[in-house]
Symmetry: C2
Subunit: 211 residues, 2 copies
């Protein structure tokens, strides 16, 4: 089999990150040490180096997220794919749990009644969790818009927002809204993102806790 390199399973991820580091260098991109493992893990999950240019961090964002997770913060995500991708074993080691309310019957019913999205209703459900919550939004701009409205109305303040929905309608504008708030964030500007990216950001931070 041409071009297939025999490599032990445990070596594959290490080698991948070496290639990513090398190619970032070749592109003349240098990353801030604090942000490095998040950006590299998103590139690892997408094979898309554009994220090195578009991932945007509030001041000290990664340290803030690490502190939250170390103290047992929960994660709420807007898709079951994101939920499946988050490393819940590591999260639980620090006392946190991951949630996605999108498939709840109550959420669907409320969204129908209010002519809004399940994602927006899910954020309202999440706001009732009585501990710090990191929001990891990989799909629905309406989730970010709902969070923005609650923040500006001072009815709820998320502990942290990972704002990486993907798409073509309202996605870019919804991400820009989050950048105007005082809530710490990691946002991918532009259209790109996704549940896989949301999970990769969460996992990158969780894995940093063990170092």
């Amino acid at each position: 089999m041409n071009n297939i390199e025999f490599i032990l399973p445990e070596e594959i991820e290490k080698r991948s990150f070496e290639i990513i580091s090398k190619e970032l260098g070749e592109r003349g991109i240098s990353l801030k040490p604090e942000q490095e493992m998040v950006i590299k893990r998103v590139i690892h999950t997408s094979a898309d180096f554009e994220y090195a240019q578009t991932l945007t961090f509030s001041e000290g964002a990664v340290e803030k997220a690490k502190e939250l997770l170390r103290n047992g913060a929960d994660i709420v995500t807007d898709t079951n794919m994101g939920l499946a991708g988050i490393n819940k074993t590591v999260l639980a080691r620090y006392g946190g749990a991951a949630h996605c309310f999108m498939a709840d019957k109550e959420v669907a019913e409320l969204a129908r009644q209010h002519r809004t999205t399940r994602a927006a209703v899910s954020m309202e459900m999440a706001a009732k969790i009585e501990k710090p919550v990191i929001f990891a939004v990989g799909n629905a701009p309406t989730a970010l818009i709902q969070l923005y409205e609650m923040i500006t109305a001072k009815s709820f303040r998320p502990a942290f927002i990972i704002g990486v929905p993907v798409g073509f309608v309202n996605v870019e504008a919804a991400k820009e809204l989050i950048l105007t708030t005082e809530v710490p964030y990691i946002v991918n500007r532009g259209r790109k993102g996704g549940s896989n990216v949301a999970a990769a950001v969460c996992n990158a931070i969780l894995y940093e806790l063990g170092r």
Copy 2:
């Protein structure tokens, strides 16, 4: 809120696909009618137009996959994220089920014993399913390599392969192997892909069944 367009939830997807069609036109890209909805749904899930150039279909691939799913074929995927993303309600309507064996204890134990990946062992487990199986590989090139070895050894013939793993080590070469087989396929050449892409390809085909 600047640039936020108020749009009903059910309109968002329709509008997104209109934007994708328009921008494909602006890039001078015309898609084969049979492949169009698969490529557009992958762009919808990634916001990455590169997929219009790299998604590769065997002759009549989409029709073949539709026929398989219409007749109740199962889908086996190599990640729980992919499993979460596949529309299992629509799949079940035609008699199919979706599986991911990656988290099985037996799989982990066999992978450890044989110094191979869980993905490779998962493919061997899947080969025992006694009905046609579509393999949707979004993560592990070793899953594709295992399928290739079983195909060339004539020990197993998958009904269809969706080969869209993402990554930097052996990923491109593993995809190229699948192109050399007689098994019908949809493969994304190059490094890009992912669980989200695997699920998007499955769902695009499932949704075509209802048209």
